[in-house]
């Protein structure tokens, strides 16, 4: 009951708390602005991201072309904005997919004593693979496409979320209101969703923010290696991969998409740090 009464106040509270911490707020403003800029790209930039203008190729940054132009004369500022759509969307899709698997596994492992040992060992085994390595192996098996990159990275990050959900569920399982629900004859799935899941959202949200940041980095890495999203689709990673060939004459081609990645990842990490401090003071200590 307490949990239900609380939720009505949680959101305004959270935003107000965020505002009291300048770094977290700055992170939030930057990432929201980046999402808005990429969605509003056609209104902001006079150029078409795919329009070729060979006469303008490899121009350095200027007032006409804020970030310069690439090997085919395309405006890099415009391409960074449009690439943001794919890079951010892929990161977000990874978080959603990983959360679905992670919450499912974590709830089962945390709530049902008998399931704990096997599921936890499976999580341990999955975490033994370095993220990029497991992701490229999965993409190699499934085939390179945006959807498969999301599936692969989702599988890579799901165990981390499962761990967090399991740890919280272990604590909540023993609380009086869960016992009360059981005594009242509430069916177990209802208890899990209504009483347990609701109360693991805080640590889940914190972890999900960090995974969002990691997923953007990992997607860029996969695209750069040429084992991810097709180079024809502009993402920040594929832009750097192309720019690399013009490192000597036109280093700005790779500078700006890299800067966009850093900005997005850094602001997500600041938001995650802020959220952790308000929502999960217990965790704040262990990094």
């Amino acid at each position: 009951m307490a949990a239900i009464a609380q939720t009505g106040f949680r959101e305004p509270n959270l935003l107000m708390k965020m505002m009291s911490r300048p770094t977290a707020m700055a992170g939030l403003v930057v990432i929201v602005a980046m999402i808005a800029l990429s969605l509003l790209a056609p209104l902001i930039s006079p150029y078409d991201p795919a329009q070729l203008a060979v006469r303008n190729r490899l121009l350095p940054p200027s007032w006409q072309h804020l970030f310069g132009t690439d090997d085919l004369g395309r405006d890099i500022f415009t391409r960074v904005l449009y690439s943001g759509r794919t890079s951010i969307a892929v990161g977000f899709a990874v978080v959603i997919f990983a959360s679905i698997i992670g919450v499912f596994l974590g709830l089962i492992a945390g709530f049902f004593r008998k399931a704990d040992a096997p599921v936890s060992r499976l999580i341990d085994a999955m975490m033994a693979f370095p993220d990029i390595l497991l992701a490229i192996a999965l993409v190699a098996a499934l085939g390179a496409s945006a959807t498969n990159v999301v599936i692969a990275l989702g599988v890579v990050y799901a165990p981390r979320l499962a761990r967090v959900v399991r740890a919280s569920t272990l604590v909540i399982r023993e609380l009086p209101y869960v016992e009360a629900a059981r005594a009242l004859g509430v069916p177990t799935p209802v208890t899990l969703v209504r009483h347990v899941l609701r109360n693991v959202t805080s640590p889940l949200l914190v972890q999900a923010t960090f995974i969002f940041a990691n997923a953007i980095l990992a997607e860029a890495g996969l695209s750069f290696l040429g084992v991810g999203i097709s180079p024809d689709i502009p993402t920040w990673g594929t832009m750097i991969s192309v720019g690399r060939q013009y490192m000597e004459q036109a280093p700005w081609i790779m500078w700006f998409p890299g800067g966009a990645i850093i900005l997005a990842v850094l602001s997500l990490q600041l938001v995650g740090d802020g959220l952790r401090d308000f929502l999960d003071p217990r965790l704040a200590k262990d990094v």
Binding site: A128, L138, A141, L142, A220, M247, P251, I262, V287
Partner: protein
Amino acid sequence: MVRSALNRIFGMLVVMALVVTIVFVIVRLTPGDPAAVMLGPDATAADIESLRERLGLNASIPQQFLTYVGGILRGDFGQSIFLNMPVTEALMQRAEPTFFLTLFSLLIATLIALPVGVLSAYWRGSAFDQAATTLAMFAASVPSFWLGLVFMQFFAVRLGWFDASGYGGPGASFGERMHHLVLPALTLGLISSALITRFTRASMLDVLNDDYVRTARSKGMSEWRVVTRHALKNALIPILTVIGLTAALLISGAIVTETVFGLPGVGSLIVSAVLRRDYPLIQGALLVVAGLYVLVNFIIDMLYLIIDPRVRY
């Protein structure tokens, strides 16, 4: 303690068995016929059939699994299709650059992270602490391949201090080979120092308020001795854990960094195996890397057990 050790050994064996199973499953996820995928669209039916035979794909799935597990137990990780040699041999041939790259990166990361993390915790809340924490977070946000390219552009292309890529070619002396590792190791070391700094700081903060630190101070011991002998010594176990795990995870960084700098190491071997769909090689590399990670984890847990008598599993 013996019981704890046995528990932990059993746990490790279970995780190893799961790792082996996961690797087997991943490669079988390939839609369609892996042999056809590997050979490409120009292959004849006979070629595909002979490769299927070689890979043992004609057997039933449980039978394939048994053959595969049997091979691993005998130390046989399969044959690389494109290199035409045992997977273990292919990995060993490429081990040198990866080994030294990992070693130097770890050294650079530790040399930066230990003092910065300790001082950050000691001067908690100071300008130094804030700058260090912000920088660590910044370093964790930089894509390693991008940092590598920026270093390459500046130090190799513009200043000409290093060769932009490669490992010195055949017959290069040890010194020349190591010279090629400077920029890659700097790239990976700087990025991995972020995580170790954060752990060192957190771990030091935990112990700096402990009673024995206060006691040491009240005895009139010098601050240097208090921090190094009493606080750092106790904070070191979690720090060593994260250094150990970073070492195992650096292989992931090596995949990207070796590709950027054109180093003939295990990382770039894995990327080319993926691009050529050399499934046995991918399988073997996954197994070796994940196996190393589980082993490092296990050794660290065992060290805990020996160092700290309160630890139980």
